[in-house]
Structures are given as structure tokens and as C-alpha cells.
């Protein structure tokens, strides 16, 4: 149920009106007027003085864990976490149980997302049956289903067999699909626990060499070129990978790449205390890699930021490193981390943030109605963000079912104040709203 909403004095960061405060009038789920000194009787007024208005963020890489792992997260709890982070759309990775490799499962996920009502949940389909890497899943059926799947991934696993990867890249051209590869050569990373380098040598943890990521990306961009397909690279983490993408784009290869907020900020030095909150795949890398991915995001080599939000229960992290699960939750902290790593360092402006966290992810995922400019006629999916406060990230900032965040007690700037999803307020005045009928 959408209200009539009047947002006053927001700093809109779309291309046309960078920096000047403006009013936005929202009705029937759409932006109906943009200007100065607007008014409308009966409208709910939001004072957005000092707040930056961004199009609702779109996460191309989220793990919602439902169906099958509801102890860690559900589509409802994950949607709430997303809204709290300023997101209005999330792409749900298929490593659920059962795996989302059929039209039935992806339609179920879509329905659960609609019932939850906080964000648009767009299912991602698996590339291969059961994500086993042996046979293609029914990609066409998933594309034609009500879930309109366009992004396919075996994330968690690499599509390692070069022939399967080639076929998948070719096949999805029929419906403008894209394969999102988790680049990790399994033979080079057997038993791997952290980045391979000086720290792993000292800590006695099996290394995950950068070349295991880079060699797959190099192969895949050449395959994509050969068959004329789009390719998307998930959670890129090394300087070498940035170089390969840059080379590929110069050649005109249709490749896009994402980087996680944690790879923009954290390094492998954090592993020294064996605190499993920092255990993630791909692993935290060196300072040089952090610098390289920051520059890559700034110069457009890396197209988007995607959270790889990966919830895990407490017992999967409160144990010895080797036994711990890989992954960090990231929806609620993403925008704040990007501000610290990219905006406050002068590498990105807020226009760029809108591009890399909203517009481009929506475009790659072929998701209509999201990442659209804040102009008349467009859907009212947006977030109002206050960049000024600096305070520690705490448990109360987490709204999902799991607390495996690497930022707890760490000072981060900024705060999401309001989020609107198609005209429905999901976050009001910094607090999540309880939305009517939930599944």
C-alpha cells in the first residue's frame, strides 16, 4: 500500500542534478514531481535535509539461504537486512537446498520475496544441475518462468569444466542471459584456508593462490570472446584479476565484474588472530590487492559492488579456523563500507556510487524498474543516506538472522535513514518498518 510522500531538501545524485537539494513528490509508487518548494496536502513529509538521495541499491550477489538453510537466514529476514542497508532489490544466489536449478524453486523464491514485501527478490538460477558442474540445468525454463531468471551462477563452486562453461555461455544468449562465474580453480585450492602468501606461510594455513582466480578469469574472458557472449565475474579480489578484466574490456569483450565491500577494505593481516569472522571465499588478500580493486572500481574496470552477503550461524564461526564456514554478512554495512573505502578517499563521488551500487547491477541483471534515475515517471525505489555520523557498527545494526559481520565494533561512517521500495517505506528515520502482510 503506497502513500503519497513528499521528500524535502534531498541532495539528489543523478547526472542532471548533482549536489543541489531538491524535493521529490511520490504517489502511486512513482515519482510524480521533482523540483523545489513542492507541497501536497495529505502527503507524508520526510525532511531530507543533509541526506543524499540514491536510487534504491541493487545487490547482484546475495545469499538468502531459503529454501533449506533457514537457521541462517530466510527470504524475509534477508529482505529486511537488505532494506536496512538501503537496498530495494537483491539477486538471490541458488546454492540453497534444494538448489535453485528448476523453474519450480525459482518461482517459489520469487513468491516468498513478494510476500515479504521489503525488496524485490530476483532469483539467480544455477548453471548446472545441483551445481555439480556436470550437466546444464534447465536454464531456458528458469528464464521463461515467472521468475524471469537472467543471471545464472554456480556460486560457491567454479564452473570448472571448460566445455560446460563454453556451452553455458553460448546457450544463455538465446534469452539475453549472463553466466556469473565464481572463479576458483578447485585443483589449485584444495583445502585452502586463506590467501597464499607470506601470512599463510607463517600461520600454517593452506594457501588459496591468486593464480587460481586469475587463470579461470583469463580462460573465461577468452571463451566469452570466442562465442560472443556476456560474462560476469563474481567477487573479484586480486590485482592480477583487475589487470585481466582491463585487458579484456580493451579488446571489446563483453565482461562485467563485481567486487565486495570487504575486499575494498580488509586485508589478510586480520587473519593473524585466527578469528573466523574474517574467513571468506575468495579470501581477504594483500594491501596491494585492496588498492588495485579500489582503483579498478574507480576507473570502471570493475563495474559494480556486490555484497556476497553470506549468513552463518554462531557455531559455524565460533570454532577453530579450519572448521569454520566461509562468509560474511554484508547488506547492512555495504554502503557505509563503500563510503569509507571509496567516497571518503576521493575515489568515487555519490553519482558513481549510484552507478556501481544501483544502476549498473540492475542493467547487468536485466532488472527493470530498479537503478532508474530519480526523475518523473520512474519507480519510487530510493534510499536517503546521511554520510555524516561516524559510529561503531554494532549488533543492533544487523537485521538478518546471523551476526557474522567482520565490522562489529569497527567505526564506520554514515547511516541509511530512509528506504522506499516502489513507494512503500521500508526504513523510516533509521529504523526498519514492520510491513503489513508477511509470509
Amino acid at each position: 500500500m503506497s502513500e503519497t510522500i513528499l521528500i524535502r531538501g534531498a541532495r539528489i545524485h543523478d547526472q542532471a542534478a548533482a549536489g543541489r537539494p531538491a524535493d521529490l513528490l511520490i504517489d502511486g509508487g512513482r515519482i510524480v514531481e521533482v523540483g523545489a518548494g513542492l507541497s501536497r496536502a495529505g502527503a507524508r513529509v520526510i525532511d531530507a535535509d543533509g541526506l543524499i538521495a540514491l536510487p534504491g541499491l541493487v545487490d547482484l550477489h546475495t545469499h538468502l539461504r531459503e529454501p533449506g538453510y533457514e537457521a541462517s537466514e530466510t527470504i524475509l529476514s534477508g529482505s529486511r537486512a537488505a532494506a536496512a542497508g538501503g537496498y530495494t532489490a537483491v539477486f538471490a544466489m541458488p546454492n540453497t537446498s534444494p538448489v535453485a536449478d528448476t523453474a519450480g524453486v525459482v518461482e517459489q523464491e520469487l513468491a516468498l520475496g513478494e510476500a515479504a514485501g521489503y525488496v524485490t527478490v530476483q532469483p539467480i538460477g544455477a548453471v548446472t544441475v545441483g551445481q555439480k558442474g556436470e550437466r546444464l540445468a534447465e536454464l531456458g525454463a528458469m528464464a521463461s518462468s515467472r521468475a524471469r531468471v537472467r543471471v545464472f551462477s554456480d556460486d560457491g563452486f567454479c564452473v570448472w569444466d571448460p566445455l560446460i562453461m563454453r556451452r553455458a555461455l553460448e546457450y544463455v544468449k538465446a534469452f539475453d542471459g549472463v553466466i556469473a562465474q565464481h572463479a576458483q580453480d578447485p585443483r589449485l585450492t584444495e583445502g585452502a584456508q586463506m590467501n597464499e602468501g607470506t601470512v599463510s606461510a607463517e600461520l600454517g594455513l593452506t594457501g588459496w593462490p591468486a593464480v587460481a582466480e586469475e587463470s579461470i578469469i583469463a580462460r573465461d574472458v577468452l571463451l566469452a570472446e570466442h562465442v560472443g557472449s556476456r560474462l560476469h565475474v563474481c567477487h573479484l579480489s586480486t590485482a592480477g584479476s583487475v589487470d585481466i578484466i582491463r585487458w579484456a574490456k580493451k579488446r571489446g569483450i563483453a565482461v562485467t565484474a563485481e567486487v565486495t565491500p570487504h575486499h575494498l577494505l580488509l586485508t589478510e593481516e586480520l587473519v593473524r588472530g585466527y578469528d573466523a569472522r574474517y574467513k571468506v571465499n575468495p579470501p581477504l588478500r594483500r594491501e596491494q590487492d585492496v588498492q588495485a580493486v579500489r582503483e579498478g572500481l574507480a576507473d570502471g574496470t570493475i563495474d559494480i559492488v556486490a555484497t556476497d552477503h553470506a549468513p552463518h550461524p554462531a557455531e559455524a564461526k565460533a570454532c577453530e579456523w579450519q572448521a569454520a564456514a566461509n562468509g560474511m554478512v554484508g547488506l547492512e554495512s555495504a554502503l557505509r563500507v563503500v563510503q569509507q573505502a571509496m567516497v571518503d578517499t576521493g575515489l568515487l563521488g555519490w553519482d558513481d556510487v549510484a552507478r556501481v551500487m544501483s544502476t549498473t547491477p540492475a542493467r547487468i541483471g536485466r532488472l527493470d524498474g530498479h537503478g532508474t534515475p530519480l526523475t518523473v515517471g520512474e519507480a519510487a525505489s530510493l534510499t536517503l543516506y546521511d554520510p555524516t555520523p561516524v559510529r561503531p557498527f554494532g549488533r543492533s545494526d544487523l537485521h538478518g538472522r546471523s551476526a557474522n559481520s567482520p565490522y562489529l565494533e569497527r567505526e564506520l561512517p554514515g547511516e541509511v535513514r530512509w528506504t522506499l521500495h516502489r513507494g512503500t517505506v521500508t526504513v523510516a528515520d533509521g529504523a526498519l518498518r514492520e510491513i503489513g502482510v508477511n509470509a
Binding site: Q193, E196, G197, T198, S200, A201, E202, L203, G204, L205, G207, P209, G273, Y274, A276, E315, A318, C319, E320, W321, Q322, A323
Partner: protein, 321 residues
């Protein structure tokens, strides 16, 4: 000393203190009554998740000679094999009154996780964690070297001026890592010899010299040559082609033994693969310190337990983790 987790963070003063107290402990082992009443009433738990009879018995002997009570917990057939977590296992033992937990675990970092988690208040001694560290082994190795080279004048001395060469699977060896840090802290010059596949990818920050050729390393006249146990299964993961080739290129055979300088000693942490990394001649020669290492292990572990348990226990954070 609140915990003994590694030699990487062990200062020179602390290391010498352990070695010097071990001298006192060793002296008492020559008496008729080998027992001391010092840790009477304290309980030491041996929490061994990996099989290891020798190390466990050594810690048990050390604790008993200080009159502590010993509880042995081995993972096989225990609640752990039924999936009990490290946290629950440790807290159960503490609830039974453990003052110190000696832990051997297959996961690197497990002792540190145990010591810093807040699950238990007992002192933690690392008896070997994954491929990370085995601090008491390095301490007994240093004690052995010191004793052989300085005899009755050992007390208070470090190992400055001595050259120690370690040969074997450095990549997978916690004994190698602990020795690299401790020997360097004590002033020795360390050389590592291994096939390139068994050296970690990036050891540029390590204070060691790396050699791939054992004969060249022996020509450098090391004072101590420490042979590490090689696991034959490593050849199935392509670290080296055959046992035969490994033994020929990196084994301490009679010929290489003969080329060692007169005062050099041969060391091995055990258990030995006679004929693979070390020949019978070498293992049984007068240069070999293998049995002394075992004896010294008890003294060093007595020193470690004494320093951990005898004084008032500091609160967490007072002297670092």
C-alpha cells in the same frame, strides 16, 4: 606467562627463562627422588585431538614430576568424534577443574582460538597445532643444542654464533616453523633445505637462508643438522616423485654423515623413518641427539608448566595473549 602458544611471539628473555628453569628441572631429574611438590593440587589436562603417544607421555611425565594431577583426553572414540565442538569439550574439562590445558590439534590456530575465546580461564599450552607451531619442541631442541655445545656453562646463554640447518618438509612442519623463530630469537643462523615444492610459496620475510641442495648445505659446516620426518604420502600429491628420489637427494645417509664437521650434531624430533630421511648410521651415531631430545623434552615441559601454573595467574590481557 599466561599461555605458551608459539615461539613467534616469545621474547628472548622469556625463552631464556624457560631454558634456564629447564636446567633446574633437569638437575632434579638426576636425584633419587625425581618428584617436586610444586604443582600439587593443580590439574593438567592433555587435550589431544591428534594421535601422539610420545608428546602426550612427555607432558604427562612433566606434570606428574611436579606432583600435578593429569587427565588425558584423546579425541578418538570420545564425544568429539561424535561431533562435539572444541568449545564444548574445553568447557567440560574446565568444569572438571583443569588449571592448564595442553592441546594438540589438527587445525592451525586452534590453541589460540581456545586461549582467546573466553570459553575457559585455564592456561593453554600448544602441543602442536596443524602445520603452525610446536613451541615446546623448539624449546627442547634449543635446550639440547645449548647443552651439547656449552655443557655446564649453559645457564643464561643464548645460541649466538651457532649455525643450525633444518632439512625436510618445511611447508607442512610446525617443528620447522617454531624452530625458525626460536633459533633466530636466540641468535642462531638458520638454513632450511627442502625440495622447492616443500618450501612455502613466500618465505621472503623469514630470517633464514633457503637451499635446495643438501650437499651444499652440509659443505657450509652447520653445527646442528636437524632432520624432519617426511610423510611418504606427500608423493601422492606430487610434492616429490618417489621415496627413493627424496631419500637420495635429501636423506642423511652415511656419506653425508661422514662429511659433517667433527663437532656437529644430528637431531630429529621423532618419530624417525629410518632409511628415508635419516639412515640408521646417522640415527645411532654418537652425534645423534635423538634420545637426549626426549629426555630434555620432559625438563622443558616441566619448566613450561611451572611458569604457567606456579605463580598467581594473571588476568587475561595483563601480559598479552
Amino acid at each position: 606467562m599466561r599461555h605458551l602458544l608459539d615461539t613467534r611471539t616469545l621474547t628472548r628473555d622469556d625463552a631464556l627463562r624457560i631454558l634456564d628453569v629447564a636446567e633446574d628441572m633437569a638437575d632434579t631429574q638426576r636425584r633419587e627422588v625425581k618428584k617436586l611438590p610444586t604443582l600439587r593440587g593443580k590439574t593438567v589436562v592433555n587435550l589431544f585431538f591428534e594421535d601422539s603417544t610420545r608428546t602426550r607421555i612427555s607432558f604427562e611425565a612433566a606434570a606428574k614430576r611436579l606432583s600435578a594431577d593429569v587427565i588425558n583426553f584423546s579425541a578418538k572414540g570420545s564425544s568429539v568424534s561424535k561431533g562435539e565442538s572444541l568449545q564444548d569439550t574445553a568447557q567440560t574439562l574446565q568444569a572438571m577443574g583443569a588449571d592448564a590445558v595442553v592441546i594438540r590439534h589438527g587445525a592451525s590456530g586452534a590453541p589460540r582460538t581456545l586461549a582467546t575465546s573466553g570459553w575457559i580461564t585455564a592456561g593453554v599450552v600448544n602441543a602442536g597445532d596443524g602445520t603452525h607451531e610446536h613451541p615446546t619442541q623448539a624449546l627442547l631442541d634449543a635446550f639440547t643444542i645449548r647443552k651439547r655445545f656449552f655443557g655446564a656453562d649453559s645457564r643464561g646463554r643464548d645460541l649466538a654464533g651457532l649455525r643450525v640447518t633444518i632439512v625436510g618438509d618445511v611447508l607442512h612442519s610446525r617443528v620447522a616453523r617454531s624452530n625458525v623463530w626460536l633459533l633466530t630469537t636466540l641468535g642462531a643462523a638458520v638454513t632450511l633445505v627442502a625440495p622447492p615444492t616443500l618450501v612455502p610459496q613466500d618465505v621472503s620475510a623469514w630470517p633464514v637462508r633457503i637451499r635446495y641442495d643438501l650437499d651444499e648445505a652440509i659443505a657450509d659446516e652447520p653445527d646442528a643438522l636437524m632432520m624432519l620426518r617426511i610423510q611418504a604420502e606427500r608423493m601422492n600429491a606430487a610434492y616429490f616423485p618417489t621415496e627413493r628420489e627424496y631419500s637420495r637427494r635429501w636423506g642423511l645417509d652415511a656419506a653425508r654423515l661422514g662429511r659433517l664437521s667433527a663437532d656437529s650434531i644430528v637431531m630429529h624430533p621423532g618419530p624417525m623413518n629410518r632409511g628415508l630421511e635419516i639412515s640408521a648410521d646417522a640415527a645411532d651415531s654418537p652425534r645423534s641427539t635423538v634420545l637426549e631430545q626426549v629426555t630434555n623434552g620432559v625438563s622443558v615441559r616441566m619448566a613450561a608448566l611451572y611458569l604457567l601454573l606456579a605463580g598467581e595467574r594473571t588476568r587475561a590481557g595483563e601480559d598479552g595473549r
